[in-house]
């Protein structure tokens, strides 16, 4: 599944980011494999998405979020 499938308040772990579709800036802000990501808030139509990636708070558009693969944390 991808980041775009998260529901508000849910958490996941980033497993892969397709570097050709993702601006480098986003990686530099901490959006890297292995980091946990939480969906803090969504705007209407779930776009953009307000994320908390390992303590970094940022917003991205849904069209970017679909290029970030995640899985749920093993409880």
């Amino acid at each position: 599944m991808t980041l775009a499938d998260l529901k508000r308040g849910q958490q996941g772990i980033i497993t892969d980011v397709s570097s050709s579709h993702i601006p480098l800036k986003l990686l530099e802000m901490g959006c890297l494999p292995g980091n946990t990501v939480e969906l803090v808030q969504v705007a209407p139509f779930a776009d953009p998405m307000y994320l908390n990636i390992n303590g970094s708070h940022l917003a991205i558009r849904k069209e970017t979020a679909v290029h970030i693969l995640i899985e749920f944390e093993d409880e």
């Binding site: 601006p23 530099e28 808030q41 953009p48 970094s56 917003a59 991205i60």
Partner: protein, 704 residues
């Protein structure tokens, strides 16, 4: 004079660079531009212990040395160019204790450039609140640097920072991690090809288009025994670099920082639940907008009236004190009203910047971007276009400059092109006088027709901006991937000092930049209206007297003045464009106003004031009386067949013309600078004025 130490403040956005800068320099600073581009360059002087002085630059915020915007490029170009006169003797990297991990990424890159570096960990006042504690000695050892733990809010640690800057020679220049570990083979080959160059510097040159000294990408690619990689490969390596750096930072922080989550509190979550809410969020944003408009158009009136009055009495006073003559006229009727025309906008501009500074400082602006992005994107804009569009209601110049942080070139360009449609404060004087003249009094649902007209004009301006953005997004064939990455910073109480300095600096820039032009125009205008070629102008008195021998002295003076104006240089210009503007319902006097107000819209009212007061020899003492006198004179204006010049139809045509036309030289100049070509401002001028002409023509022909 002893040598100054060059200090560069570098860091991610929102870490407090500007606060540190203000703490070090106070008001001892000036804002300029980097050559060729309009990125603010803030520099100042700081007195250090033992009589040493430091020259400090506040660099634009950047997340890394991989530039993705104009602002960020400035940082790299400075750090890579040893010959730049501002090249730092010491780099001060400012970080926020709450975002240390992300902030350190940039720090490790700068260390790789082997520049002496001090690490400032700012916002130490938040540590207790967030349950953070740091092992400074461990961090200093691992990061091979000296650390200043400071709080610009509580004013702690500043003197320690000054002490560290003074002793910058003692700082280590050793990198804290090994750049070659990103890709051993590649970097070994690179170093072999350029044995005398710094490895990380080479890497930066390869991965981006920056210029520094002799080495640029072409020269690296030209070395035959070294193979460069494809773009995609390079990007993969950059990603690997980022991962490596984070691994290093995580290791350092594991021992160097502990966070006691139990004692951490978070205001953000509670506030964001409301401020970014699907309903409440928009409602609150709407209320804030109302408050801003209220301030700009209501509260600002008080100081504006005061300024207006002050300049009017100054003008009268000058006339009384100085001896009669051309020079006095120039001062009293040209220069002083011209200056007044600039100063009068200070309250509105200052209010606007006050609000914008508070919204930016508090962290709320990012939430606006978040809320508005989706809606704005429908029209080819970005969430980040909202700030320019709001600023545009005061003045398009700062608004165009505020587009710089929009990542996508297409979205940025469209924002720049449509912003001048929003109703700026310079249109207001024009609207007010014409509305008062042609819109009847009376009320509809408790609102006066005049107020409704004004509101409608605002809506038209905003609609034109959004509508043309939509058209442009379909028409412009620019390939530029649109994406949005925006940090959502913590909410903070704005620092009074920061807000005050921003308001003062921005207002100052506006006054001087726009002021120069308006002043020049009003002087030129005065000359053109006071002189003319040939008999008709020079012998006006005799000519009028001969034609009408039986006039009283007062009426005669009026007629003479009018005759003179008609045959002055400006009158000739007005007459010559009359055929073009007649279908819109304007006479040659309005034509003069259109021509002069091409420089800046607010000049229109000033021009009419000049024209009608030159036309009328009657003395005007009181300011209110002066205004109503101009209004009365305008209302009395008739064509030779006796029909009125200012009617409902010609008035509405004029209002619509000003709503759409690109009547502002300063905006064109700033658009040229920001887009780096004359192409866009020329399109803007031709298309906007074309639309204005067409709509004004249609309106007049229908209503007539």
């Amino acid at each position: 004079m002893s040598k100054q130490i060059n200090v560069a403040l570098i860091g991610n956005p929102n870490t407090g660079k500007t606060s540190v800068f203000n703490a070090l320099t106070g008001l001892n600073q000036k804002v300029g531009n980097y050559p060729g581009i309009t990125v603010d360059k803030k520099q100042g002087i700081c007195k250090l212990p033992r009589g040493v002085k430091a020259h400090i630059i506040d660099l634009p915020g950047t997340y890394s040395l991989n530039a993705s915007s104009l602002d960020e490029n400035v940082v790299i170009e400075l750090l890579l160019n040893k010959n730049d006169k501002d090249f730092p003797d010491v780099a001060v990297v400012v970080t926020d204790v709450e975002n240390l991990k992300r902030n350190l990424l940039l720090f490790t890159q700068i260390k790789d450039l082997e520049i002496p570096t001090i690490l400032v960990i700012n916002m130490s006042d938040r540590m207790a609140y967030k349950g953070i504690s740091l092992d400074i000695a461990h961090l200093e050892e691992q990061l091979k640097t000296k650390i200043a733990l400071i709080s610009t809010r509580k004013n702690t640690g500043i003197s320690e920072l000054k002490e560290l800057i003074t002793n910058y020679k003692a700082l280590s220049t050793e990198p804290c991690m090994n750049a070659a570990s990103i890709d051993k083979d590649y970097f070994t080959a690179l170093q072999k090809a350029f044995p005398n160059q710094l490895l990380y510097k080479l890497w930066l040159v390869i991965t981006q288009d920056v210029n520094f000294g002799k080495t640029n990408r072409q020269t690296i690619e030209a070395v035959s025994d070294f193979k460069t990689k494809s773009k995609a490969d390079l990007k993969r390596l950059q990603q690997k670099e980022t991962i490596k750096r984070y691994q290093f930072i995580n290791n350092v922080l594991k021992k160097g920082r502990t966070i006691d989550l139990a004692s951490a509190k978070d205001l953000r979550i509670r506030l964001d639940r409301i401020l970014t809410h699907k309903v409440w969020g928009y409602l609150i944003f709407g209320l804030i907008l109302l408050l801003i408009f209220q301030a700009i158009y209501d509260w600002a009136q008080v100081p504006m009236e005061f300024i207006d009055g002050a300049f009017a009495s100054l003008s009268n006073w000058t006339k009384n004190v100085l001896p009669d003559g051309a020079f006095t006229d120039l001062i009293a009727e040209g220069v002083i009203p011209g200056l007044g025309g600039i100063v009068i906008f200070i309250p509105q501009i200052a209010f606007l910047f006050l609000f914008i500074a508070i919204l930016e400082e508090s962290g709320y602006m990012s939430r606006v971007v978040f809320l508005m992005d989706r809606i704005m994107r429908r029209f080819g804009l970005s969430g980040k276009s909202v700030v320019p569009l709001i600023s545009g209601t005061a003045c398009a110049i700062p608004a165009v400059m505020a587009t710089r942080n929009i990542e996508s070139w297409k979205e940025r360009l469209i924002t720049i092109l449509v912003t001048p449609f929003t109703t700026c404060s310079a249109r207001l004087p024009v609207y007010l006088i014409i509305i008062a003249l042609v819109i009847p009094e009376g009320r509809f649902l408790g609102l006066s027709y005049q107020a409704l007209t004004l509101m409608l004009l605002y809506l038209i301006g905003f609609g034109a901006a959004v509508g043309s953005a939509y058209v442009l997004s379909k028409v412009l064939k620019i390939k530029s991937r649109s994406f949005l990455v925006i940090e959502m910073p913590n909410y903070k109480l704005p620092l009074f000092k920061n807000v005050a300095i921003t308001v003062i600096e921005k207002t100052k820039t506006f006054v001087f930049e726009a002021g120069k032009i308006i002043l020049a125009i009003s002087i030129v205008l005065w000359f053109l209206a006071s002189y003319g070629p040939g008999e008709q102008f020079n012998n006006a008195e005799t000519i009028v007297q001969q034609a009408n021998p039986n006039l009283t002295e007062e009426v005669l003076n009026d007629r003479v003045a009018e005759h003179k104006l008609e045959h002055s240089y400006i009158g000739i210009i007005g007459k010559s464009i009359e055929p073009v503007i007649q279908p819109l319902g304007y006479d040659w006097k309005i034509g003069i106003g259109l021509v002069t107000s091409f420089a800046a819209r607010e000049v229109f009212v000033g021009t009419l004031a000049t024209i009608y007061s030159i036309g009328s020899a009657t003395e005007i003492d009181d300011e209110d009386e002066a205004m109503s006198t101009i209004k009365n004179r305008m209302a009395e204006e008739v064509y030779s067949d006796g029909s009125k010049v200012f009617t409902l139809s010609s008035g509405i045509s004029l209002l619509l013309f000003y709503a759409f036309a690109m009547q502002c030289m300063s905006t064109l100049a700033i658009v040229k600078r920001e887009t780096n070509s004359w192409k866009w401002p020329i399109y803007q001028l031709v298309i906007m004025t074309g639309i204005a002409y067409f709509i004004a023509l249609t309106a007049f022909q229908i209503l007539k």
